[in-house]
């Protein structure tokens, strides 16, 4: 090894050690647990088996022993996927104009606007989820206003439904979409826009054919940065979903508590990790491709 490399490893070693013990290493244990058998009252036992993984999709009916697709699990996974996807779309629809707005401010004002967008992001997740809960509950702001304006006569039940979770995740991850979009917009050459208009394109045309392609890395980064945490959301569905609208994260936790099926919980965790890694590969591919001259 070159002297540079030796120094590099020596310098990086402490950080790597801490991360391996306190973050990355334990993931290997989870992978192992996903192929072990269910312990009698929780925990795991030998022998190795693929039942944890197969239980994700397949179940044996309790009463007649027929093997069938575990619909309940599919419902939860579908819910996680559609909420994560919907969150991505919603944050994109709201985030793009916001990022555009910030990007078109005079340079010195932009820092202030960025700061304003970042504050909610760094506010504690619990506080933000709690804040949304207070706004959408039956006696909260939204319903009070709607009833006060006469639009509805009874409070709309938003809390403890899938919509509450969706509103919550959109609220929580919006800044994550705005920041990469802004970064891409900031780097965009304004003359491209002018060229588009010079060629008689409409506003909509310029948006579709000039702006969006130009900020593509930012778009992809934003989408992935929102999709990943939304898929693995835990706190938001727990507080806003009321225990009946579980997402993957809550369902995983259940297996280590009341569910007492550690191998299933471990397998689900690995599955979540795989999906997340796949999304990341997409991100890395898309952004590095753009950097090639």
């Amino acid at each position: 090894m070159t002297r540079d490399a030796r120094n590099a490893w020596a310098l990086a070693a402490p950080a790597l050690l801490v991360l391996l013990v306190g973050a990355a290493g334990p993931l290997l244990v989870v992978a192992l647990f996903s192929v072990m058998s269910q312990g009698p009252y929780g925990g795991v036992a030998w022998p190795l088996t693929l039942e944890g993984w197969s239980r994700i999709l397949v179940q044996r009916d309790i009463f007649d022993g027929t093997v069938s697709i575990n619909e309940a699990h599919l419902v939860i996974m579908w819910r996680s996927l559609w909420i994560a996807a919907a969150t991505t779309v919603l944050t994109l629809l709201v985030g793009l104009p916001t990022a555009w707005f910030i990007g078109t401010r005079p340079p010195r004002a932009r820092t202030l606007w960025l700061f304003l967008v970042t504050i909610p992001f760094w506010t504690n997740l619990l506080i933000r989820t709690f804040a949304i809960m207070e706004v959408i509950r039956n006696e909260g702001l939204v319903n009070t206003v709607l009833m006060g304006l006469g639009i509805t006569s009874e409070p709309i039940q938003i809390l403890f439904t899938d919509w509450a979770t969706l509103i919550g995740t959109t609220y929580v991850y919006l800044p994550l979409m705005v920041l990469p979009l802004y970064a891409a917009i900031d780097r965009m050459d304004v003359r491209l826009l002018e060229a588009g208009y010079d060629l008689y394109a409409s506003r909509w045309g310029v948006l579709r054919r000039v702006i969006l392609p130009a900020i593509r890395p930012g778009l992809i980064a934003g989408c992935v940065l929102v999709f990943i945490p939304a898929l693995g959301a835990y706190v938001t569905p727990r507080i806003l979903g009321g225990g009946t609208n579980m997402m993957l994260g809550n369902f995983i936790e259940l297996q280590f508590g009341q569910g007492r099926n550690w191998p299933l919980g471990a397998a689900l965790s690995m599955l979540l990790l795989l999906i997340v890694t796949a999304a990341l590969v997409v991100l890395v591919r898309a952004t590095t491709r753009e950097e090639r001259p």
Binding site: G22, A23, G25, V94, T104, L126, L193
Partner: protein
């Protein structure tokens, strides 16, 4: 006729304005109602500091606050130190073999969903706990330091990359040893980056919910986990007061962060 602005897109400003309202309205509600004299989130009963007084007097809150601050302080200091070393390794030592792996491990907490890490640590630390009987703060400190490392690493690395490496060679030209060069040239120049890393790490540790919830031992609540527990019990506006207090602290730290990393004109 109004001058044609190539950058104007119809409706975008309205949506942006609504977005900002959307972002701040719920938080504003929490803050405003933390000063409510009535224990309600929809009816205003006048200005009062009672919830702050109650939260201040609440023993569980006091313990949780102290614990949160201790963990955040230790974790941010440790992770920043480790991240500085790691940044030096990845930026200053050229393209050594395995550099991508180092990147991967360092950024791992950013990409792995917290629930997965939480569950993994629950298993591993649970095993250690049963076999050693150690119930102390160590697990939380280790876990927090680990996931704070990438947050400290990013600003330090950014700063290091913009630093002029010739300054260090100038130092060695003047017969400074590598250690001296580091202490007297690199470190001071790296200052703002390290400060930024410290603050980001501190805020990240203070805010963590999921990993802390899974790793903590009996009775080791931090402020966020205490709040999470409160969601199961009767919610009082005390939680609003605590949330506002945490928000204020985060705001102070973030302002400091922005001021330190502001690009000098």
């Amino acid at each position: 006729m109004r001058a044609f602005d190539a950058r104007r897109l119809p409706g975008f400003t309205t949506v942006a304005a609504l977005a900002f309202v959307f972002l701040y309205l719920p938080i504003a509600t929490v803050v405003v109602f933390s000063f409510n004299a009535l224990p309600s989130m929809s009816a205003w009963g006048g200005f009062s500091l009672q919830w702050y007084r109650e939260a201040w007097a609440n023993e569980a809150v006091q313990e949780a606050t102290v614990r949160s601050l201790v963990i955040a302080t230790v974790a941010s200091l440790a992770s920043t130190a480790l991240a500085t070393l790691a940044a030096l390794a990845t930026v200053r030592q050229g393209r050594f073999r395995g550099r991508t792996l180092v990147y991967g491990v360092i950024n791992q907490p950013l990409v792995v969903p917290e629930i997965v890490t939480g569950v993994a640590l629950l298993i591993v630390f649970g095993w250690v706990r049963s076999n050693t009987g150690y119930q102390g703060l160590g697990y939380l400190l280790l876990a927090h330091t680990a996931f704070c490392i990438p947050f400290a690493y990013l600003p330090i690395r950014a700063r290091l990359e913009t630093m002029d490496p010739t300054l260090e060679s100038a130092a060695s030209d003047l017969y400074a040893s590598p250690m001296q060069a580091f202490r007297r040239v690199t470190l001071p120049l790296l200052g703002p980056g390290i400060a930024a890393g410290l603050m980001l790490a501190f805020v990240t540790s203070l805010d963590d919910v999921i990993i802390t919830e899974f790793v903590k031992s009996a009775g080791q609540d931090t402020l966020p986990t205490w709040m999470l527990g409160q969601f199961r019990r009767t919610l009082t506006p005390e939680v609003n007061a605590i949330a506002t207090a945490i928000l204020a602290l985060t705001l102070v730290l973030l302002t400091a962060f922005f001021l330190t990393t502001r690009k000098r004109a």
